[in-house]
């Protein structure tokens, strides 16, 4: 196969699995490796994350070694150079431990929620930026500092565009998601950045009406334009990518059903309803254990949702939601600490029980980040098996 033929073949594997109408020729395998691939290639995290030439080598080596059918991430997830250009440190990077952690530095105190609701753009500009960037807080920032950020953004965009060309043309890899505006959920923004985990938990108890209002204004800013763009797109799947859409949620991990129904579900439902109406397929990744929310997804047409399970039992998930395609299931604890035989046994079980009729995409059950998350020999054996196996 030429690389163009290989790209088309691989895209069809994902599309067939996601549609749940056609059993794919074989089970597609998507890499869910993020920072682990840097360590696997023998580099320090700071070396690769600060140098796009090294990051390109890392991504190339990852694909050459394991021959995935698609990569979830090609070195663009933790863009540390962008905040660094303005003196901000969003990430803690520990090269000794091989670990990256996000600094949970809330931008907004509970008593500032009214200001955020009144004008989110003004709030981000004046308060959010000041909390993240010392030179913004002490007002020493100048045009030349912002120009450095523009230059960094340009370098990042150049790297991203280069990889989006290199991966299909030189490795026959498909694009993950059709061109779309990222569907950034307001509640997730509150959880990740604005209030933080602790702040959002407190706010939902102490001032739930304000949380609702904040979600609304943030969604007007970020989610509504994304939905409008989706509405304007032609109906049916975009066959040049593995999925039409990608929804990744983290905030669900702290919600009970009542909170989910009040703060997240109305907007998530609007998005999923629109995707279903337009005949489009989304990958849906919700961090943590989500069994308590499964019932909300039970009525969607097959071909709408590919659920990338995190901590959920994928076999139980398939039984509970036969209308949803499944992705994931390869446990990091097995991949990292198990024997090759244990990894292959789990891989075979996943392929047989989830993929014998189609509707399954092989992948890891969590982002592969730390050195011990994965043993390279196990990963190689598993990838070779999935490529050859026909359940």
């Amino acid at each position: 196969m030429t690389n163009e033929e290989l790209r088309a073949y691989r895209t069809k594997l994902f599309r067939d699995a996601g549609s749940m109408k056609v059993k794919p020729d074989r089970i597609p395998n998507m890499s869910f490796c993020v920072t682990w691939k840097i360590l696997d290639a023998g580099y320090k995290l700071t070396e690769a994350m600060n140098d796009y030439t090294i990051m390109e080598k890392v991504v190339r080596e990852h694909q050459e070694k394991y021959e995935f059918d698609a990569l979830f991430e090609h070195g663009v997830r933790n863009v540390i150079r962008l905040p660094l250009a303005l003196g901000g440190l969003t990430y803690n990077i520990d090269d000794e431990a091989g670990a990256v952690s996000y600094v949970d530095n809330a931008l907004c105190d509970l008593d500032e929620l009214d200001e955020l609701i009144a004008d989110p753009n003004k709030f981000f500009w004046e308060k959010g930026m000041a909390k993240k960037y010392p030179m913004w807080a002490d007002k020493t920032v100048g045009v030349e500092d912002m120009q450095k950020v523009i230059m960094e953004f340009g370098a990042f965009s150049q790297y991203n565009m280069k990889m989006l060309k290199v991966l299909p043309e030189e490795y026959g890899l498909p694009t993950n998601t059709a061109p779309s505006q990222p569907p950034y959920q307001g509640l997730d923004f509150l959880f990740n950045t604005i209030l933080g985990i602790k702040g959002l938990s407190m706010a939902m108890r102490r001032c739930p009406d304000k949380v609702e209002e904040a979600v609304h204004v943030l969604n007007e800013l970020y989610l509504t334009p994304s939905l409008k763009a989706l509405e304007a797109m032609p109906d049916g799947p975009f066959m040049d990518a593995c999925f039409d859409y990608d929804i990744t949620l983290l905030c669900n991990s702290i919600l009970n059903n009542k909170q989910f129904e009040r703060f997240l579900w109305p907007d998530l439902k609007a998005m999923l309803d629109l995707l279903e109406k337009k005949g489009k397929t989304t990958r849906l990744f919700m961090e943590g254990d989500n069994k308590r929310f499964w019932e909300y997804f039970a009525d969607y047409k097959p071909g709408t949702i590919v659920m990338h399970a995190d901590q959920d039992d994928v076999f139980e998930l398939k039984k509970a939601l036969p209308n949803v395609a499944i992705m994931g299931g390869m446990k990091l604890e097995t991949l990292g600490r198990g024997t090759k035989e244990e990894c292959l046994s789990l891989t075979k079980k996943l392929c047989d029980e989830l993929g014998s009729e189609g509707g399954y995409i092989f992948s890891e059950n969590a982002m592969v980040s730390y050195k011990n998350d994965c043993n390279p020999e196990n990963l190689k054996a598993v990838c070779d098996f999935v490529r050859e196996y026909r359940p």
Binding site: P83, G88, F124, W125, E126, M129, A130, G142, M146
Partner: protein, 62 residues
């Protein structure tokens, strides 16, 4: 603070000032030739403000 004493950390003053003074990678505007220059400048400035606002949004989220 900037040398011209415009406090770019204030909104919307900072947004207007940065949009006028940053060198931004703008795609060609493709505006009709017969459009009055004033109108063209306003459209381009609007595009620049959109980019600067998006950039600050990214910096806040990153």
């Amino acid at each position: 603070m900037d040398e011209n004493k415009v406090d770019i950390t204030k909104y919307p003053e900072g947004l207007h000032y940065l949009a006028q003074n940053l060198m931004l990678p703008l795609p060609p505007a493709n505006l009709p030739e017969d459009m009055p220059q004033e109108q063209k400048d306003a459209i381009i400035l609007q595009q620049k403000e959109y980019i600067v606002n998006m950039l600050v949004g990214t910096l806040v989220r990153q």
